[in-house]
Amino acid sequence: MIHERIFWLLGLGVVLSPAMLLVSVGLTSLLRFPLSERNMARATQVAVLFGLTCAVLVLGLMLATGIRNVQVEFGDWVVIHPEDFHFHLKFVFDRLSVPFAILTFVLTGTIGAFASHYLHREPGYHRFFFLYAIFLVGMILASLAGTIEVLFFGWELVGLSSALLVAYFHERQSPVINGQRVWSVYRIADAAFLIAALMLHHLTGGGDFEKLMGSGSWPDSVAAITPNQALVVGLLLLVAAAGKSALVPFSGWLPRAMEGPTPSSAVFYGALSVHLGTFLLLRVSPIIELSLPLQLAIVALGVITAVYAALVARVQSDVKSALAFASLTQVGIITAEIGAGLRYIALIHIIGHACLRTLQLLRAPALLQDYRLLENAIGGHLYAEPGWWDRFIPERFRLVLYRLSLERGMLDSMIDEYLVRPFIKVFRWCDTMERRWSSFLAGNPAGRIIHEPLAVPEPAGDELA
């Protein structure tokens, strides 16, 4: 009993501290009393440290008591009776969520300290930390979510803040365009996620992971749906994960996300955001286990992504893109591990990879110095040796492979050309049809399209001769 009380309090601390940060940063900005740089940094520090302490205490308590699955309930927030829908705020502390939450706190905390120096005197300092707070809340909600709705809520917050951070330098054109692109890909992922969530609701009558995955704590739980149902839901979730984790064919957005300031690129796209898709797969791994085709599909997608990204990473000539694809390589491998059922290895892999990549991305601007030190140590120029598999590729094919890697597999072009363009065409056609139809109804006998008059500016005074 006393355990439950303590767990509840600690859980509250973990969730509430980022939320309080968001509220204080958001409200002060809204009320036009923006915090000073120093106070902003301090608030972030306090919130992250408090949350981290609570999370570590939860872990310690779990280890001490041997309890492996703690549920913290905050009741129903929305209840719609006829549809029997309820938004149930519930968090789960188990062997998956606690390490992930701790990782989130450690990395975002470090980045927060980094950014408070890095963005000193930057006009968008407040905006950055506001988005940072949204991101932190999103990550914590998503990692501790006990129901699929809460996970989706966190997932959305992460997506929103990520896209806005990509477009951080909104006075230039390309960050905005790329931010929009990231956002569009996220929408596809979100749509798939939402459909999957609805299906799960229909299948099990609620969004609670406990019901979905059956009893038992992660990773030993067993899901209570049929393999075919699992396949459909799993594939939808795989699409969602692929969008969020930039798996093939959505990989094009990852390097584009490197538009923001270095710390946000490092922690979000190098380390946390990009792993959120794999986290989702880990969370629903009992479902994956049910269907062999689903497992194979996940392994295949992971392997394809890993091979693709490893090739592409090798030819990138700018450091941030190279690291983005290096990151993607590992995400692909992690996905394959999840598909193969190696859950603990995947979790350890995620944590290790996130730390390593964050460090590498933060140090990216020091590349020139690092190379120079290496050259000095080695006593000559650095030459990359060809990979072991280069020998097996014929000369002619090597050039093709190089070109494809340089063009990043033309994935973005394919999406644009085969998906976006037909999509727009169809809707333009629909638009035209609708106009015709409405003009027909309006009694325009010729059925011609009536264009809305363009906003013609009034003649500007009398023009000078």
Binding site: V106, T110, H117, Y118, H120, R121, E122, F169, R172, S174, P175, M258, P261, T262, A310, A313, R314, V315, Q316, S317, D318, K320, A322, A324, T329, I333, I348, H349, G352, A354, C355, L359, L362, P365, A366, L367, L368, Q369, Y371, L374, E375, N376, A377, I378, G379, H381, L382, A384, L399, V400, Y402, R403, L406, M410, S413, E417, A460, G461, L464, A465
Partner: protein, 1037 residues
């Protein structure tokens, strides 16, 4: 006969074509000089951003350069107005500068309303608002613009205008003869109705004010109606992309650059990618053709690319031929070719410039770029441009094949740019009339020709001219302050007579100014000197742990000599062992570095990657301690501290091989003599002479080289100082010097040192050679230096917002140390920011003057120079271009941070190891980042030289480089008379005596008393120790 002619014609044609191609190549190489001339970023040389325009005068160049690059010529007008409001620019500066600028035209009468000078001054003083017509109409209808006078109008003028209008109306308009003022009467007829003419005698003040303004508006409106246009029409667009962008909103550059930048990056890459471009050896153009000719493209616009490239490959067309062909197919006529090519190349100028630099000017890089790469770049770019334009023409403009006429078709779709309307002109004059007190009556008497002249007067004093005048005033204020300060200060200083405790010679860098000032404050009996930081030792240098030779000398000099650092023989074995360990560790590190980015090895690295969180957290949260710990580990594999420079050469010819390293005895003597004579240290040697080079250390900083010593070609000057000290200590050199007239006493010991300007530490070299007799002197000097460094750090900290103003000198030192080790620090130090002056003269004349780290200080003793001014000439030869380069690069990077500079550092991404991009794909960004120039004041550097006009004139005549910079006003020049406190200022070809503005200079007892509590630029002050009581007693009195 017939056969002969037919044979001759093709060859003639071929000749003609060959001539044409050669001309094309020539044109492109000509345009290449306008591209940014920044080379690979490892070596950063400050240079004038508008170097290509140096043959023009400064003001013409910023105008032309601004048009070429689409950049600001000066700061925006608002910024200058803020300076005016803050008192940084004063009203008399504007008036004086304007008088100078107008010359005889200042008194030119603009009709009877006033002189040109008055009109322009009013335009400078009061911001004239101007907006689109809709805004103006709103302003007139919805605000009280026509009911209340502008706030700037002086009350007296307002009263006067209303009163005069009242009299005019009552006297002439409502009762006067109908023939007079017919125009005015017509114009105002409806106004009387509106205001109720019947009650005119009962109108109150507010009504009269409104009536006056309404009348003013109408009369202005009537007056400017049908006045012809004066401003020249903007030049028509030539690039298809620009025209299409305006016509359809589609930017073809976006899609073209995406492909082009990726390829440029791969082609220039110096080692970021593990898999280099396989076709790189073929040169830019062929590499592109080979790589892409068999590609099946997905993008619609690129689909014809494969076929095009196949055709090019089959016909074996050269890059020049492809350029020629594409120009023709795009319908570019011969007359506009140069303009078109220039616009095309400047559209991606960072990459184009880098290719040109690597092709012509960077022989030291690993993967060289073959000759003709820029030509290839232009060929590829034009080909891609054409494909993109064709595609957009097909899909958006409904134009299938005819590219020739595309531009006129697209132009026809562009909506007319708005022109200056009558409303806008009316509003301009309406605003001016209020501040200058032009009454409606006076204006109503202007004839049409007067109106025309008035409008012309106003419109020809364009925003550009106003900004120029503001800029000149901005410079004038600071110049007058500097000159006044020097004049007043040098009245009560005297040359030193005591034998100094020690002497130190630093770099002329303005960052050393405060260090020297603090040294002199801590130990008034020391003497400081400055020479360009390479100390005349021009060499290729390789340290004991370094892999390559780097040039350490000004960029203008190509070193002939090679010097290496060697570990002393007795420690050779340790050195070897450690070298081996380093190599093994280095190779392992490199493997891990590459592996972590690959698949399987990366997976292994990631599984243990949680360990990376330790350095990650430690580095970010505790930079200073982490750096110490890691240095401790490093020291285990660093070479032993005892090393020697291979300075002495026995072989007659210098070179990089063993035996040819170093300098001959005569060369050494020459070097030692040169520096001593230049700085004027030929007698009164103290027992200890310290030679201090400088460099800077910072983390995570692609622009790191820009903080190092400019006189060492963006390298670190420590080895030069060390070499110099070694040479000067050599008894044989001293003997030879004695024969040349410089007698260095045997008990004088030279010691080399390196000042790290970022963390403010000074490291001495070759201390093991310090004679026991000098240990006491050294310890005293080093204690003084330590204190001075703390104070220096303290003074620097006043500029860092993250250091509290109440910080102690010791804490300040810790603060700057942490800065240099902090991964997150984008301003490790502030570099040359705020530099504004270069003083060339004896130190004692500037000693004790607070110069706020804004003044380059070069030691020069005019009394020791010969009649030809040999010494001054050889000081100025490198100093003028180097300092001008620094000053102008900072100026332009500040004036237009995104255009001339490289914008904010935050999104920077190292590309190909040669430069930085914004985010994942952008042009290479050249110039300085905003964080470096943030606190700069964009001023042209003022050279203040201790010399006479005649001497300076003859130096100018003999040195075209200096002359061009001075005559074209890229730098300002003033002469401080060697014998008296008087200054001559260079103006329009001659020196004129400068009349001081003020006679007061604050006196304080120490630097900190002057700068304490302030973060802004500070004025000048004389520092006289123990004077505080005097000032305070004065204050009480």
């Amino acid at each position: 006969m017939v056969e002969a002619t037919t044979a001759a014609v093709p060859t003639q044609e071929a000749d003609l074509q060959a001539d044409g191609l050669e001309h094309l190549v020539h044109t492109i190489e000509h345009i290449a000089h306008v591209l940014p001339s920044q080379g690979p970023i490892q070596v950063f040389i400050h240079h004038n951003t508008l170097h290509a325009f140096e043959h023009l005068s400064f003001h013409d160049a910023v105008k032309q350069g601004g048009a070429t690059y689409g950049c600001h010529p000066y700061l925006p007008e608002d910024r200058y107005r803020q300076h005016l409001a803050r008192g940084r620019i004063q009203f008399e500066d504007l008036a004086a500068v304007l008088i100078d600028d107008l010359g005889e035209e200042a008194d030119h009468l603009v009709s009877f309303l006033g002189t040109r000078h008055q009109l322009r001054l009013a335009m400078l003083e009061h911001p004239l608002r101007l907006g689109p017509d809709a805004e103006l109409r709103w302003l007139i209808a919805e605000t009280d613009a026509l009911r209340r006078f502008r706030e700037e109008t002086p009350p007296s003028k307002r009263e006067q205008m209303i009163e005069q209008t009242r009299r005019w109306v009552l006297r002439d308009l409502s009762n006067g003869s109908p023939n007079e003022n017919r125009d005015a009467r017509e114009a105002l007829a409806s106004l009387f109705e509106q205001f109720g003419a019947a009650g005119i005698e009962n109108w109150n003040d507010a009504t009269w004010e409104a009536f006056t303004l309404h009348a003013l508006w109408r009369i202005c409106h009537q007056g400017v109606h049908a006045v012809p246009r004066f401003a020249p029409l903007p030049a028509p667009l030539v690039r298809h992309r620009d025209i299409i962008l305006q016509a359809t909103g589609i930017d073809t550059d976006r899609i073209v650059h995406d492909v082009l930048i990726r390829f440029c990056g791969a082609f220039l890459d110096q080692g970021i990618a593990d898999w280099p471009l396989p076709t790189r050896e073929l040169g830019f153009f062929q590499a592109f053709v080979e790589l892409y000719k068999d590609a099946r493209q997905v993008d619609g616009w690129l689909s014809p690319l494969g076929a095009e490239l196949h055709r090019i490959a089959d016909a074996q067309l050269s890059a020049a031929e492809v350029i020629d062909e594409n120009l023709r197919r795009l319908g570019v006529s011969a007359g506009e070719t140069e303009e078109f090519l220039s616009r095309t190349m400047l559209a991606l100028r960072g990459w184009a410039g880098m290719i040109w630099q690597m092709e012509t000017n960077a022989e030291w890089i690993v993967h060289r770029t073959p000759h003709g790469s820029l030509l290839g770049f232009v060929a590829v770019r034009l080909l891609l441009d054409r494909l993109a334009v064709e595609y957009v023409a097909r899909t958006e403009l409904g134009n299938g094949s005819e590219l020739q006429d595309l531009r006129s078709l697209a132009r026809s779709k562009i909506q007319h740019a708005s022109r200056v309307s009558v409303e806008q002109r009316t509003f301009l004059i309406f605003q001016l009339a209020q501040v200058l007190g032009w009454t409606p009556e006076a204006l109503s008497k202007l004839a049409k020709s007067d109106w025309s002249r008035l409008v012309e007067e106003i419109e020809t004093f364009s925003a550009l001219d106003r900004r120029r005048i503001f800029h000149l005033a901005f410079e004038r204020r600071y110049r007058n302050q500097v000159l006044d300060a020097f004049l007043i200060h040098s009245q009560h200083v005297a040359p030193p007579s005591d034998l100094p405790t020690f002497q130190i010679c630093c770099c002329l860098d303005e960052r050393e100014e405060s260090f020297r000032r603090h040294l002199e404050e801590v130990e008034p009996r020391c003497e400081t000197y400055a020479f360009a930081g390479f100390f005349a030792v021009a060499m290729y240098y390789r340290g004991a742990v370094e892999a390559h030779h780097v040039p350490l000398c000004p960029i203008l000099i190509k070193p002939q000599h090679y010097v290496e650092e060697e570990v002393v023989y007795s420690l050779e074995q340790t050195h070897r062992a450690r070298q081996k360990t380093r190599r093994v560790l280095g190779k392992a590190k490199h493997k891990i570095h590459l592996g972590s980015r690959s698949g399987l090895a990366g997976a292994l690295a990631s599984i243990v990657g949680s360990l990376a969180s330790i350095p990650l957290v430690a580095r970010v949260l505790f930079p200073r301690i982490t750096a110490r710990v890691s240095r401790l580990f490093d020291s285990l594999v660093q070479p032993p501290a005892l090393t020697r420079l291979t300075l002495e050469r026995s072989d007659p010819t210098p070179g990089p091989e063993n035996g040819h390293l170093g300098f001959s005895l005569t060369e050494m003597t020459g070097i030692v003599e040169r520096v001593l004579r230049d700085i004027g240290l030929t007698k009164r040697f103290s027992r200890l002479v310290i030679i201090a080079g400088h460099g800077s250390s910072s983390m995570n900083n692609p622009h790191r080289a820009a903080y190092d010593c400019g006189a060492c070609g963006g390298g670190c000057g420590g080895p030069n100082a060390r070499a110099y000290a070694f040479m000067a200590n050599d008894p044989r050199v001293r003997e030879a010097l004695a024969q040349r007239g410089i007698r260095i006493p045997p008990d004088t010991f030279f010691i080399g040192a390196m000042h790290n300007t970022c963390d403010d530490t000074l490291t001495f070299s070759d201390l093991d050679r310090l004679p026991p007799s000098h240990r006491g002197d050294f310890e005293q000097a080093s204690a003084v230096i330590k204190r001075a460094l703390c104070r220096n750090a303290h003074e620097r900290c006043r500029r860092f917002e993250s250091a509290p103003l109440s910080i102690t000198p010791e804490a300040a030192h810790r603060h700057v140390e942490a800065r240099s080790e902090d991964l997150a620090q984008v301003r490790p130090e502030l570099g040359h920011a705020t530099n504004a002056v270069c003083y060339v003269g004896r130190r004692w004349r500037s000693q004790g003057l607070f110069l706020d780290r804004r003044t380059f200080l070069t030691s020069y003793d005019p009394t020791q120079d010969d009649a030809e001014r040999t010494i001054l000439t050889r000081i100025l030869q490198p100093a003028v271009p180097v300092c001008a380069g620094i000053s102008l690069e900072y100026l332009f990077s500040y004036v237009d941070s995104t255009g001339y500079g490289c914008g904010s550092k935050l999104p920077h991404n190292i590309a190909s190891l040669v430069g930085v991009m914004d985010g994942p794909v952008s042009d290479l960004r050249t110039g300085l980042p905003w964080q470096m120039v943030e606190i700069h004041e964009p001023l042209r550097i003022l050279f203040l030289v201790e010399s006479t006009p005649a001497a300076m004139q003859s130096i100018l005549e003999k040195n075209p480089v200096i002359q061009q910079l001075v005559v074209n006003e890229w730098i300002q020049l003033a002469l401080l008379d060697p014998d008296s406190p008087s200054v001559q200022l260079y103006r329009a070809g001659r020196f004129e005596p400068y009349v001081p503005e003020s006679k007061e200079l604050p006196i304080v007892s120490s630097s900190v008393d002057w700068y304490r509590g302030s973060r802004d630029h500070l004025g000048f002050a004389s520092i006289v120790p123990n004077v505080s009581r005097r000032i305070s007693s004065k204050g009480q009195a």
